[in-house]
């Protein structure tokens, strides 16, 4: 896509995220459909694929739950725009809510009031990471409530080891049944602390389907977990079938000797993502997927 201002690029990316499913996810859904042996499971995948095409062709949100938007910002320390980014992201969020439109999803936990424009305390959520250079890379993850409700933190005893991690992940996914809108994408965060394991899991969801962790042990765990969760037979939408998860992505950090935090981030099939890059000259682009 051509160059534009950051304000324009954020609006384009917010719309793209909720209306056009990334091609890697579409491919994974199509492959799942071809593999599916349960007629009820296949019917669910057919409806999903038809829905994805209607949303893309009509430029309308593929799911009514357009989520709470999480922004992951990799901010180059030499970018001249760091002080403005929060404001620009907040403004784009309010504008996109009206124009795409997005469902107003932010609610005050005390009063129950919804401001109607996706603004609010700490909203939209932004995770900041400082990196070298003068570019800023903004990843947008609109995440629905149904799948977020199925995300979990397990503080395991280190003695259970990798086998314990595998057991916990599969048991959790089976306990979720059809609630998080399977086939899901799992982000598995290991180590760090309670907060870091969850954050790593969410970052793992951002990765493209088909990508593998660069560390061989983590990549092997991704492959094995995917095979294990798909042996369970929960299937598309929990009505039974071959594919419960489209992908498992693992990210990890070193841990405290007494702790083995395990973050399981569950992302529904609508794995919506978009990315914007802003350079030091103020030229922005939406990165194609």
């Amino acid at each position: 896509m051509g160059s534009m201002t950051i304000q324009e690029a954020l609006l384009v990316a917010l719309k793209q995220a909720v209306t056009v499913l990334p091609q890697d996810v579409v491919n994974a859904l199509q492959e799942a459909r071809e593999r599916e042996t349960s007629s009820m499971g296949a019917a669910q995948l057919d409806a999903i694929l038809e829905n994805v095409a209607i949303a893309r062709d009509g430029s309308i949100p593929m799911c009514q739950d357009t989520g709470i938007q999480t922004f992951f910002v990799e901010a180059g320390v030499n970018s001249p725009f760091l002080k403005d980014l929060r404001h620009w992201i907040g403004e784009a969020m309010i504008q996109a809510t009206a124009t795409v439109p997005l469902r107003p999803n932010t609610v005050d936990p005390f009063t129950g009031k919804n401001p109607g424009d996706n603004s609010g305390r700490f909203m939209p959520l932004i995770h900041w990471e400082l990196v070298d250079g003068d570019d800023v890379l903004i990843s947008i993850l609109p995440k629905g409530g149904g799948s977020e409700n199925m995300s979990a933190l397990k503080m395991l005893a280190p003695g259970v080891g990798m086998k314990g991690i595998k057991r916990a992940v599969v048991e959790h996914i089976v306990s979720c049944r059809g609630w998080p809108c399977p086939p899901t994408i799992l982000g598995v965060g290991i180590g760090g602390g309670a907060d870091i394991a969850m954050k790593l899991g969410k970052k793992a969801v951002l990765r493209e389907i088909g990508s593998r962790n660069a560390v061989p042990e983590a990549a092997e765990l991704e492959r094995e977990l995917l095979e294990l969760v798909n042996m369970t037979g929960v299937g598309p939408m929990g009505v039974g079938g071959e594919t419960t998860c489209l992908a498992v992505h693992v990210e990890y950090a070193h841990r405290h000797p007494a702790s083995l935090p395990l973050g399981i981030l569950v992302q529904c099939w609508a794995d919506r993502r978009a990315r914007v890059r802003l350079n030091a000259d103020g030229i922005a682009e939406v990165i194609s997927r």
Partner: protein, 200 residues
């Protein structure tokens, strides 16, 4: 079995629907999530009138995206929300308001199952996330209640639909439950999964 139904339907028709049936609905449906359930139950208890008759419509667990266009409302996306959240009060809601069909996703618990049996309601599953597909089958927005207090997702919206589906009956009024039927298979599969993990 595939069934085209026009709402309202009578109690006998709802009672005949079985797990595995696939429904396509034409007529009036209304949305209610957590907050609309609570508000309606509280209103009923304090003797206030509910401004519509839920027994003549299907209850849709949904928080839609709706946009104001040319003075009217247009549905942009309206797929089902996760029904299990309403398990807290769905039994009481069914007994009070008696909608013949629930449209949701993911299924519900034992309390709702018992109420389905006593009231004669069926629970149907619509494909989760299929918001654009659903919107295509909604002909018009007939009205909205409690928009000001509850906000767009939680308000009760009234839709006129045509061939709204496919809705898979997964819980019926004679104890049928597709999710429960799957449990022995999943339990058996889990034994194989655990054995494989142990074998390393």
């Amino acid at each position: 079995m595939k069934r085209d139904l026009s709402l309202p339907i009578d109690g006998a028709t709802a009672r005949q629907l079985r797990v595995g049936d696939i429904l396509f609905l034409t007529g009036s449906i209304f949305t209610a999530r957590d907050e609309a359930h609570l508000l309606m139950l509280e209103a009923q208890e304090s003797g206030k009138d509910i401004p519509f008759d839920p027994s003549q419509m299907a209850l849709f667990h949904c928080g839609p995206v709706v946009s104001k266009q040319n003075g009217g409302w247009k549905v942009i996306a309206a797929g089902p929300t996760t029904s299990i959240r309403m398990e807290l009060f769905e039994d009481k809601y069914l007994e009070t308001f008696r909608p013949p069909i629930i449209i949701g996703k993911g299924g519900m618990g034992d309390r709702t199952q018992a109420a389905l049996e006593s009231v004669g309601t069926v629970y149907t599953q619509y494909t989760g996330g299929a918001g654009a597909l659903a919107a295509k089958r909604i002909e018009s927005v007939e009205g909205v209640e409690w928009l000001e207090e509850l906000g767009m997702p939680e308000a009760a919206w009234f839709f006129k639909v045509k061939d709204f589906g496919p809705l898979l009956v997964t819980m019926d009024s004679v104890g049928g439950n597709l999710y429960k039927d799957l449990e022995p298979t999943i339990a058996e599969n889990m034994k194989a999964v655990m054995a494989r993990i142990e074998a390393g």
